[in-house]
Subunit: 782 residues, 2 copies
C-alpha cells in the first residue's frame, strides 16, 4: 500500500527513532512533557519548554557517545549531581542563616545599648539599620535580578508543570535570591527565608544541570551532561526538596514537599534520588552547625537555625482538648483563606497601579513598608504596660527579665522595674525565629496576655499582607507560623484558664495554630504535617497536627484556592491541574481543537514554504504527511517548530532534489552537530528573525523524515475530553494529534503482551542504584 519512497522514508525515520539509547530517560520515552507556546492574556508569550525536540536530539547525542559504559557514567553523574545539589543548597542555607542571624543580632545588641540612654535614638538606629538592609535587598532585586522577587515557589511549580517563566533559573536570580533574602529577612520585614531557599535550591540544581552559567563565563563543558529536559527537571525537583530540607532541617518533609506540592510528573525512581539529596543536606547543615557551636559564627549558633524544639512540652492530651483544637483548625482555615484573598487583591492592585511606574516606585514602596514595620515593632511595645516576672522556678532554667532581641522569653523593654518584662516586646521586638521559639515555648504559662497576643496578631497579619508582593525575596512560611502560633497561643491561654489542668501547654496550641494557618493558606497536607513534626522535634503531636490540618484545609478550600495556585494564576502561569475540568466531560477532542486550521508539512518541503508557514502562524508542532503510491495521504509524524528553525539556520540538511532520501543508499547521514537541538534553560531559543537565507537557499528542499517524531500520541476525534486530558496530563505531553476513527484494528495490546521477560544481559546493572524497583529479573521460574 505504501509507496516505495514513503516506505523508505518511514524506515529511515524509524531507524533514527529506534536508535534509542539505553538510558533511564529513554525508558520513559513517552512520559515527556509539555505544551505549546501559550499566550498570556496580556499578550506576552510565555516560553514553553521544547521537550520533544531536546529529547529527540538528546537521544542522538547519547547515541553518538553510545554504549553501556557511557550509561553507567551518566547514572553515576546523576547521583554525583544530586550530591552537589545537596551540598550547594545546604551551604547556601547555612550562609543565609549565619548572615541573617548576625545582622539581626548586631542590630538588636546595638539598639539595646543605645536605648539604655535614649529610646528615640535607639529607635532611629533600629529603623535605619532595617532600612539599609531592606534597601540593599530591593536594590539587588530591581537592578540586577527582578525574577528573584517573591517566594519563587509558584514559578518553580510552573516550571515543573511545563511552563518556563523567563529568568527564574538564571545565575543572577540565584545571587539575587541569596543576598536579597539576607537583606529582607535581616531587615525585619514580615517575611521568611524558606520559600526563597526552595527557589535557591532549584536554581543551584538547574545551573548545575546546564553546566553553569554561560553569560558569566562560569560554565564548564564537562558538566554539560544533562541535555534532556527530563534530567534537568529531575535535578530541579531534587533542588526543591533540598531547599525545604535545608530551610527547615526537615529531610523527609523536603522529599514530601517535592512530591506533593511541586512536581507534576513523579517517577518512583526519582524519589530515591530526591531522598539522597535531602539526606546530604541534613548532613551538611548539621556539620556546619556543629562547627558553629564553638562560637565561630558570631551571633549564629546558640539560638541558631530554625527548629523550634518543643520536645520538652506537652506529652499527652485529653479528649476535652479536641474541641479547642478543632476551633484552631477552623480559625486557621478562615484566616488562611482570608490571607489568600487579601494577598490576591493587593497583588492585583500592585500590578495595576504601582509596579507599572517602574523600579523607583518599587524601591520607595519597600522603604515605606520597612519604616512602618520598624515603627510598629518598636513603637507598639512601648505602649504596653510591663508585667511582673513570674516567681522564679529554679528547675525551669528560665531567666526573667532578659535584654531584648533574640534568645529567650521575658524581655525587659521599657519597663520601670528590673523584675518586670514586656510581653509584646518579647515577640514583636525580635527576630521572627526567636519570636516563634518564644510562642512555642513550654513551661511559660501566662507569659503573654490575651491583649498582647491579639494586638500582635492584628498588626502582624496586616504587615504580612502589606509586605506580600513587594519587590524583595519573600517566603510565607515563617510569617504564617507567626500568625498561626499567635492565635494558637491565644486559644491555649483560654484552654489553660478553662480546663485548669497543669499538663496543658500553651506552646502546644501555638504549634497547632501554626499548622492550621499554613494548612488554611497553602493547603498542603502530608508534607506540611511532616515538616511541622520535624521542626518541632515532637512526634507525639502528630495525630493532633493531622486533625488540625484536615479541618483547616477543608475550611480554606470552601473559600478559595491555595496560596501558590492563586499566585501562579495571578502571574499568568497556567498550571495544568491534576484533574480535568468539570465541563470537559461533555466535550470531545475535536471540539477542543475548535476550528483551528491544521497546517501540514509534506515530507520533502521547499525551504521557502517552511519559512512562509512558520511566519504565517505560531504553532509549535506540525503534522507531516506523505502520499502512498495510490495517492492516499498518511500522517508520518510530527515536526516541531524549534526543530525546523535549527534546520533552517544550519542549512546543512538542505538538498537540491525534491525526492526523499532513499534508505537503500545506506543510513541517513546526519550532517549536523546534534547538540544544536538542545535548547538552553530560560532562553528563548532561535527566533525566526535570526534566520537569514539566500535566494538560492530558499529554492532548496529539506527531507523532514529523519527529524520528525514518527509516533506522536493520537486520539480519535470523538474521544471524551476528560480522557484526552488525562492522557495529556499523565504522560506530560505537549501535542496530541486528533485523528479520524480508524478503519480497522491491527491488534490489541493487553497486559500479557507487555509482560516480556527480560532475559538478555541488559544494562540494568548500571541502572540498579537508581531504580526503586529493580529492573533485574530472574529467568522465568514458573
Amino acid at each position: 500500500m505504501l509507496s516505495n519512497h514513503l516506505q523508505n522514508g518511514m524506515e529511515s525515520a524509524k531507524l533514527l527513532w529506534s536508535r534509542l539509547p539505553n538510558s533511564e530517560a529513554e525508558a520513559e520515552g513517552g512520559a515527556a512533557d509539555d505544551l505549546g507556546r501559550y499566550k498570556k492574556n496580556d499578550g506576552s508569550a510565555i516560553e514553553s519548554l521544547d521537550y520533544e525536540v531536546i529529547e529527540n536530539s538528546a537521544y542522538r547525542v547519547e547515541q553518538a557517545k553510545r554504549g553501556k559504559l557511557y550509561m553507567g557514567y551518566s547514572v553515576m553523574m546523576k547521583w554525583f549531581f544530586s550530591l552537589l545539589i545537596g551540598i550547594g543548597t545546604g551551604l547556601a542555607a547555612v550562609c543565609i542563616n549565619i548572615s541573617v542571624e548576625n545582622f539581626a543580632g548586631w542590630k538588636y545588641s546595638l539598639t539595646f545599648n543605645i536605648i539604655q540612654k535614649s529610646y528615640l535614638a535607639g529607635f532611629l538606629v533600629y529603623m535605619l539599620i532595617n532600612l539599609a538592609l531592606v534597601l540593599s535587598s530591593v536594590y539587588i532585586i530591581t537592578q540586577f535580578a527582578p525574577a528573584a522577587a517573591g517566594s519563587g515557589i509558584p514559578e518553580i511549580k510552573g516550571y515543573l508543570n511545563g511552563i518556563d517563566t523567563h529568568g527564574i533559573l538564571l545565575f543572577r536570580t540565584l545571587i539575587g535570591k541569596i543576598f536579597g533574602s539576607i537583606g529582607s529577612v535581616g531587615g525585619g520585614l514580615a517575611l521568611g527565608k524558606e520559600g526563597p531557599l526552595v527557589h535557591t535550591g532549584a536554581c543551584i540544581a538547574s545551573l548545575l544541570g546546564q553546566g553553569g552559567s554561560t553569560k558569566y563565563h562560569l560554565s564548564s563543558r564537562w558538566l554539560q551532561l544533562f541535555t534532556s529536559e527530563r534530567d534537568r527537571r529531575d535535578l530541579v525537583t531534587c533542588g526543591c526538596a533540598a531547599g525545604v530540607a535545608a530551610a527547615f532541617r526537615a529531610p523527609v518533609g523536603g522529599v514530601l514537599f517535592a512530591l506533593e506540592e511541586v512536581t507534576s510528573w513523579w517517577r518512583s525512581q526519582l524519589m530515591w534520588r530526591v531522598f539522597f539529596t535531602s539526606a546530604i543536606v541534613a548532613v551538611v547543615v548539621r556539620t556546619a552547625m556543629g562547627w558553629c557551636k564553638s562560637g565561630k559564627c558570631g551571633h549564629f549558633g546558640s539560638g541558631g537555625f530554625i527548629i523550634w524544639d518543643i520536645s520538652g512540652g506537652q506529652e499527652d492530651y485529653s479528649f476535652q482538648e479536641l474541641l479547642p483544637m478543632a476551633v484552631i483548625g477552623v480559625i486557621g482555615g478562615l484566616l488562611g483563606a482570608l490571607f489568600n484573598q487579601l494577598t490576591r487583591y493587593i497583588t492585583l492592585w500592585r500590578r495595576n497601579y504601582l509596579h507599572k511606574r517602574g523600579n523607583r516606585v518599587k524601591v520607595i514602596e519597600v522603604c515605606i513598608v520597612s519604616i512602618i514595620t520598624s515603627v510598629i515593632s518598636f513603637g507598639l511595645p512601648l505602649f504596653k504596660k510591663c508585667t511582673p516576672c513570674p516567681e522564679a522556678d529554679a528547675n525551669s532554667g528560665i531567666e526573667c527579665p532578659r535584654p531584648p532581641g533574640m534568645y529567650g522569653n521575658y524581655v525587659n523593654f521599657y519597663c520601670g522595674s528590673n523584675k518586670e518584662y514586656n510581653d509584646l516586646a518579647t515577640i514583636f521586638f525580635n527576630t521572627q525565629d526567636d519570636a516563634i521559639r518564644n510562642l512555642f515555648s513550654a513551661k511559660t504559662i501566662h507569659e503573654f496576655s490575651a491583649q498582647s497576643l491579639l494586638t500582635f496578631l492584628v498588626m502582624f497579619y496586616s504587615l504580612a499582607v502589606l509586605t506580600f508582593g513587594t519587590a524583595v525575596p519573600a517566603g510565607q512560611f515563617v510569617p504564617g507560623i507567626m500568625i498561626g502560633s499567635t492565635y494558637g497561643r491565644l486559644v491555649g491561654l483560654f484552654v489553660v484558664s478553662f480546663y485548669k489542668k497543669l499538663n496543658i501547654e500553651e506552646g502546644t496550641y501555638a504549634l497547632l495554630g501554626a499548622a492550621s494557618f499554613l494548612g488554611g493558606s497553602m493547603r498542603m497536607t502530608v508534607c506540611l504535617c511532616v515538616i511541622m513534626v520535624e521542626i518541632t522535634n515532637n512526634l507525639k503531636l502528630l495525630p493532633l497536627i493531622m486533625l488540625v490540618l484536615l479541618i483547616s484545609k477543608a475550611v480554606g478550600d470552601a473559600f478559595n484556592e491555595g496560596l501558590y495556585e492563586e499566585q501562579a494564576r495571578l502571574r499568568g502561569i497556567p498550571l495544568l491541574e491534576s484533574r480535568p475540568k468539570y465541563q470537559m466531560r461533555n466535550m470531545t477532542a475535536k471540539e477542543a481543537c475548535g476550528n483551528q486550521q491544521v497546517v501540514y508539512f509534506p515530507r520533502v518541503v521547499k525551504v521557502v514554504d517552511v519559512l512562509s508557514i512558520l511566519r504565517s502562524n505560531n504553532h509549535n508542532g506540525f503534522p507531516v504527511i506523505d502520499h502512498t503510491r495510490s495517492g492516499e495521504t498518511l500522517v508520518i509524524g510530527l515536526i516541531l517548530r524549534s526543530h525546523l528553525l535549527v534546520l533552517l539556520q544550519s542549512k546543512v540538511d538542505f538538498q537540491h532534489s525534491p525526492l526523499p532520501f532513499n534508505s537503500r543508499d545506506g543510513p541517513v547521514p546526519i550532517r549536523h552537530n546534534l547538540t544544536e537541538f538542545v535548547k538552553p534553560v530560560s532562553s528563548k531559543g532561535i527566533s525566526i528573525d535570526d534566520i537569514h537565507l539566500t535566494p538560492d537557499d530558499l529554492e532548496m528542499y529539506i527531507d523532514l523524515a529523519p527529524f520528525l517524531n514518527p509516533s506522536p500520541y493520537v486520539v480519535p476525534e470523538d474521544m471524551s475530553l476528560t480522557k484526552v486530558y488525562n492522557l495529556f496530563r499523565q504522560l506530560g505531553l505537549r501535542h496530541i494529534l486528533v485523528v479520524p476513527r480508524a478503519s480497522r484494528v491491527v491488534g490489541m495490546i493487553t497486559r500479557k503482551d507487555l509482560l516480556i521477560e527480560d532475559n538478555e544481559d541488559s544494562p540494568s546493572v548500571e541502572l540498579r542504584p537508581t531504580s526503586v524497583r529493580s529492573l533485574c529479573c530472574f529467568t522465568p521460574l514458573y
Copy 2:
C-alpha cells in the same frame, strides 16, 4: 461519509457515554485499569478485574440516581468509609495485640513458675503451649481461609496493580488473618503481625466497599455504594495505610507505605483521604492504649504495643561513626539479599515438593517448625554461661536480674547466682517485641556478649528463613528488625570498644541495623525511613537512617529484587512495573501484538455468533466495527466479554431486527438493571457455561452500540513499545487498540486547548474537601 444508521448508532453510544455523572470518579474517566485474563504458566487463570465494564455501568447507576445532592452524599460517604476503615483497622490491631501479649505473657509466667522446680517440665509446657497456639493458627488457615497464609502484601500489591488473586479480600480471609496471626505470633514463631495487619486493613476496606459479605449474610444494601472499581481500590489503599499505621503506630509511615510501596496508580486526591484514615487509626489506637493503662487488658499495657522508644538514647554522632554505620548498611544489603534468595528457594521447594501433598503436610510442617523454634529458643540459652550483673546505677532504673519473659533486660535464666543474668535468654526466651526493645535499649552497654549476639543472629536468621512460607499468617517486618538489630548491636559493641566514647549507644546501632536489614530485604526507602523514625520516636537519627538505607538498598539491588516483588513473582502475580523493559525500545506496538487474530464484532450481531465467538477464544475485549454507506469499515468502539455475558444472560436487549436502533426514535431504552454489570470483588463473574439460551434466542440480534466503550485508547501500529507501555501503565489501561497510521489530522491538542476556564456554577463545591488542589477558580483575572 458515515452512513445514516452508523451515525445514529454512534450518537446513541455517545449519548450514553457522555451522560457521565459529575462524580470524582468520572473526572478521571480515562485513568482506569487494567489487563486481560492472564494465564499463569502453570495453567490456572488469574482473574483480572473488569474495570472498564464496571465503570461503564457504574456511570449509569450513578446517572440514574443523578444530581448534585447524590454527589455530595457520595463524597460524604467516602469520608465516612475512611473513618470506618480507620476505626475497624485500629480495633483489629488492638485486638490482635492484646491477645498476643496476653497469650505470650501467660505462657512465659507459667513457664517461669514451673522452671523454678524443673527445667524439663517447664520446657515441655512452653513447647506445648506454643504448639497449641501454632496449631490453632495453621488449622484456621488450612481448613477455613487458605488465602490468609503469608503476609498478604504481595497479593494486595497485585490487587492494586490490577490482578485479583482469588479469595484475598473475602470475609473468611479477614477472620483467618486476625485469628491466625494471634496464634502464630503468640506461638512464638519467627514471624510478625505487621504484614498481616496490612492485609487485615485491606480486607476490612474491601468488605466495607462492597457492603459486607454476601456469603455470611452480613451484607447491607445501604452500604453498597461503591460500584466502581476505582472507588474500591481507593478504599483498599486506605486500608493498607491504616494497617501500617496500626501495626507500627506510624500514621505518616502508613501514608507513605501506601504511596510508595503498594499502589500503582496514585491520585493526589486520594492522599488526603489516606492521611485522614491514618490519623483516625492513630487516635483509635491511642485511646485503646489509654484505656488499657489502667490494667484492664491483662498482660497488655505496660510493655504494650510496638514502638521501641529510644528517644532517651544517643543524641549525637561523630564523623568517625559514619564508617561503622556504612558497614552496617553493607551487611544489611548482603544479608537482606541473601534472605530474599533463600526464601525464594524455600518457597519454590515448598511449592514443588511439600505443599502439593495437601493440608496435612502443611500442618505437620508448621508443627515441626514450632517445635524446632521452641527447642532452640529454650534450649540454647541453657548452654550459655551467665554473666554477672553490672554494677547497679541508681539513676538508670534498670533492674538486674529479672525473671525471664517480657519487660526488661538482664533476665535471670538458668543462672547459678542471684546476681547473674543470661544475655541469650534476654533476647531469645522472650517475645520478639520485647527482645527488640532490649536490643534497642540504651544505657545497657555490654549487656550482650558478641558470642550471644552471633549465636542468636545465626539461629534466628535460619528460623526466619525456615518459617517463611509456612501456612500461617506471617509478616517479615519484625523478624527483619530482630535480625538487623542483632548485627547492628554487634557492630555497636565493637564501636563502643574501639572508639571508647561514652556517648555511643549500642541501641542506636541496633536501630540502624534493623533499618539496614529491612532496606536490604524489602527495598523500601522513604516510607521505611519514616516508619523507623516513628516507631523509635527519635527524629535525630533520621539522616543516619537515610544513609544506612541508601547503602543497604543499593547493595541489595545489586543481587536481586525486593522481597515482595520476588514473592509476587513466585505466586504468579505479574506486576506491571513502573518502567518498561529494556528490550521494548526496539519493538513496535504491532510486534507486541504478535500474530494474534483480531476478532471483530459487527455493530448488530446475531446471538448465536456472539456465543460462538466467545466460546472460540478467551479474549476479554473485542473491537466493534460498522460500515459506512460507502462500504468502508470503521471501528466504533470496544465491547468487553463480561459485558457481553451479562447481555446474553439477561436477554432483555435482544431484538428481532438486524437493524440498529435509530436514535431519531428517542434515546436508547435501557432495558435492564444496570447494577448487573457490577462484578463483585473476588468472584469470577458470569461464566459462559452459566448461560442458557433457547434456539429462538439464538436467532435474535443485539445492537451493541449502547454498551460499548466508544473511545478506547488507540496507538498507531509503529509506535515504540516503550511509549505504549507508558501509556498503558500510567493510565492504568486494560486494552489498547493498535490501529494503522491515520490518513489525516483533524486537529492538534496542546496545553492551551486544555486550559478551559471553569465559570459555571460547577458542582466542585461538593468536591472540594476531597481535592488536594481545588477545582474552583475565579473568573479570569488577566
